[in-house]
């Protein structure tokens, strides 16, 4: 079965500090994409970062970076210099056209 596991239901980080959110997945496909989406209370899913599975180089978008370990099927998100606006639910997902999402990690940012 295709699954995505986010083992941390909730995480807290002090403003300006760094936090890492974990994600593992299970698929038999060889070519796919991996994503982190952010969902604030407004409900809109906002793309944070995307990784192509065939690329070994980890994706980076400003303060957001990933640690992609294809053999281990692990895809963690690191947020540096955390800001109050980063507080939200974060969902890990993989797929090509059909995305499989995890259950999410609620990130709290403490002032």
């Amino acid at each position: 079965a295709q699954t995505v596991t986010q083992s941390q239901p909730e995480m807290s980080v002090q403003e300006a500090e760094t936090v890492t959110l974990s994600c593992t997945y299970d698929t038999s496909e060889s070519d796919y994409y991996l994503f982190w989406y952010k969902q604030p209370p407004s409900r809109q899913m906002i793309l944070v970062i995307r990784q192509e599975a065939y690329k070994q180089q980890n994706a980076t978008e400003n303060r957001f970076s990933v640690n992609f370990q294809k053999a281990a099927k692990s895809f963690s998100l690191k947020i540096s210099d955390s800001q109050l606006g980063d507080a939200a639910m974060y969902f890990c997902a993989y797929g090509t056209y059909k995305y499989i999402f995890g259950t999410g990690t609620r990130l709290k940012v403490l002032a």
Binding site: R43, Q44, M45, F91, Y97, Y99
Partner: protein, 113 residues
């Protein structure tokens, strides 16, 4: 519009009623997707359109769920004879093609009483 637009934002219906949820994708986006997000869960795939063709409907939970996109732009998700377990947020997403990242709307929160 600039983003994916969904309406209504909230819908309350009595059990057994039919409901229709609308999605207006980003202009020019070929691919359109529907997801169902239960409370405290991640979104789950329902169906996928490329233009007006429904290429994958494997996630639709029952034959009470029906989606269409007759002219390849606006899409409607219809749920017939609603049941309490249909209560969820229904998210629509679009992308320029099937391999580009999906852009999501704000969703419709459906509550069945």
């Amino acid at each position: 519009g600039a983003g994916v637009s969904q309406s209504p934002r909230y819908k309350v219906a009595k059990r057994g009623q039919d409901v229709a949820l609308r999605c207006d994708p980003i202009s020019g986006h070929v691919s359109l997707f529907w997801y169902q997000q239960a409370l405290g869960q991640g979104p789950e795939f329902l169906t996928y359109f490329q233009n007006e063709a429904q290429l994958d409907k494997s996630g639709l939970p029952s034959d009470r769920f029906f989606a269409e996109r007759p002219e390849g732009s606006v899409s409607t998700l219809k749920i017939q004879r609603t049941q309490q377990e249909d209560s969820a947020v229904y998210l629509c997403a679009s992308s320029p093609d099937g391999n580009q990242p999906q852009h999501f709307g704000d969703g419709t929160r459906l509550s069945i009483l």
